[in-house]
Symmetry: C2
Subunit: 310 residues, 2 copies
């Protein structure tokens, strides 16, 4: 089996059947061993250790005041016997102070920080736990009201469903993720990479885009490459997948072979797209003029695996 992508392979037991058991849930919520991943406005609580960033999980004592105050604990799963929950503190104005963690030097001491800033420095399982917590919390924040009738929704099943409170509607909403295809298009010894205007200078990456209703992944690959770069592809071969909760995607990685060569930026999503040879990229990667995408991304993985083949 292939090495899993970063943010995958968290190794938690998601205990799907137990999530529906209120007695089981009560026991875990009262267990001294339980741990809570705090999220505040899409950021995680982290401090520096000698070995790099260290996420801070809350114990029962630290979590209880927030739960009593109405924050719904979202069950992530069991790591061995230890239940892990996400706790979204976004309604608080100063959660660091409430936790007794506010310090004088926020950039060194405990702070809330975007996972994208320190994710690649974490062990795989920790990165996955934090990504999952963020993704589930984001989903709740986007489904506080029912899309069908506009009434409020309430969470149930340990945070794995939200139910519309209107007796005429009662629609159940489930946590889903947005499928997006991401593909390395190749032409023999060359690969097609593009860049958006807002990206860091010199950075090029694989093309990508969201899957639309009524199309297969393979059709989405062909459509996006045509829209973004004007290139026709003749196949789409699946590589691997990656949860990408920035904010709510699952990335579905493919290789595709070009049938045409002339680049046209049809939908203006990219500022530039080019063919790069293996040798050129190997010689220039991460020099002052050329950058590959971040190391925790499936884009980087697709590119490195392909570079390694030639």
């Amino acid at each position: 089996m292939k090495r899993p992508n970063f943010y995958a392979a968290g190794g938690l037991d998601r205990v799907g059947p137990l999530r529906k058991d209120p007695d089981w849930l009560k026991t875990r919520l009262a267990a001294e061993t339980s741990r809570f991943v705090p999220i505040w406005r899409a950021q995680h609580l982290v401090r520096d250790s000698g070995a790099g960033p260290e996420p801070i999980l809350l114990d029962l004592g630290a979590a209880t005041p927030f739960i009593l105050g109405g924050v719904e604990p979202l069950l992530l799963g069991l790591d061995g016997e230890i239940a892990h929950f996400a706790l979204d503190l976004s309604a608080e104005d100063a959660p660091l102070e409430q936790l007794g963690l506010a310090g004088a030097v926020p950039e060194e001491g405990p702070r809330f920080q975007d996972l994208r800033a320190f994710g690649p420095l974490l062990p795989q399982r920790t990165g996955s736990l934090l990504a999952y917590a963020r993704g589930l919390a984001h989903w709740h924040s986007r489904h506080r009201f029912c899309g069908v009738c506009g009434s409020p929704t309430i969470g149930a099943e340990a945070g794995h469903v939200r139910i519309c409170i209107s007796p005429e509607c009662k629609t159940h909403h489930f946590p889903r993720t947005d499928p997006a295809v991401i593909m390395l298009v190749t032409d023999g010894d060359r690969m097609l990479l593009g860049r958006q205007a807002v990206w860091m200078k010199g950075m090029y990456s694989t093309l990508a885009g969201f899957v639309e209703p009524g199309e297969s992944l393979e059709e989405a690959v062909a459509r996006e490459v045509k829209e973004e770069a004007g290139i026709e592809v003749e196949d789409a071969v699946y590589h691997s997948s990656q949860p990408w909760p920035f904010p709510s995607s699952i990335m579905l990685g493919f290789y595709a072979t070009a049938k045409s060569r002339d680049i046209r930026l049809n939908d203006k999503e990219l500022e530039d797209a080019r063919w790069f040879s293996r040798d050129w990229v190997r010689a220039h990667v991460d020099d002052e003029f050329f950058r590959l995408p971040r190391k925790d991304s499936i884009s980087r993985r697709l590119i490195e695996d392909w570079l390694g083949q030639g």
Copy 2:
């Protein structure tokens, strides 16, 4: 490239960049050649032809009264030069009468009918067009209000975004689909199939389930097989994908190899799960005691491709 699954490969040009151009859209909405796929409460308009079911598309004259009455045309794409739109008539009580199509023998004449009842009898491109129309219309029906703030949303970009009308919120909601994994688990010459209590007597199918936030497709495969049948798998090899708008999924098909043999129905989703040998299935398929899933499903495809290998 593999033969596409049913409901995929519609061949429409989705004209992503043009959807945002109001002038282009106005021209297509006024074009005599444009065609409209009517949807009514998740059903399609269909009549019998000598050769099987024939979907009825509306021309501009038939569609205009509904559009003037407030039904938003949802652009599907171009088939050659002909623009196709979906038109959700669900607010009407008697759309057949309004269309002058109400007849004495509804089961033979024009009628609204569930695509699942006649989909497999359609040509591939027609099946795909209807599935896409249904999926997009369903998405709109589930996003009439903003999940973030509860305000109404309005459609824009030819039906490919809904925007919250609250000036403080203005969240954009995009049409997405729910990723679900579906997997044929094998153990040498045997495959694992299960059945739900509500299914037709004797029918067995592959296991399946929705992908959750924070997991890869490969993790979802392993988790669902464990939850539903208690079997551990040691790999997950992607086969193909299929849009499945019943109501809003994209099915992601995998093969997986069993590491364990003893079946346990952990989450009670299945009424039964069993190991079936290739030879037994070949001998009994669609006899009076045993049925494989419907011919338009990726489940059937996974099973038939595997049967063909041994």
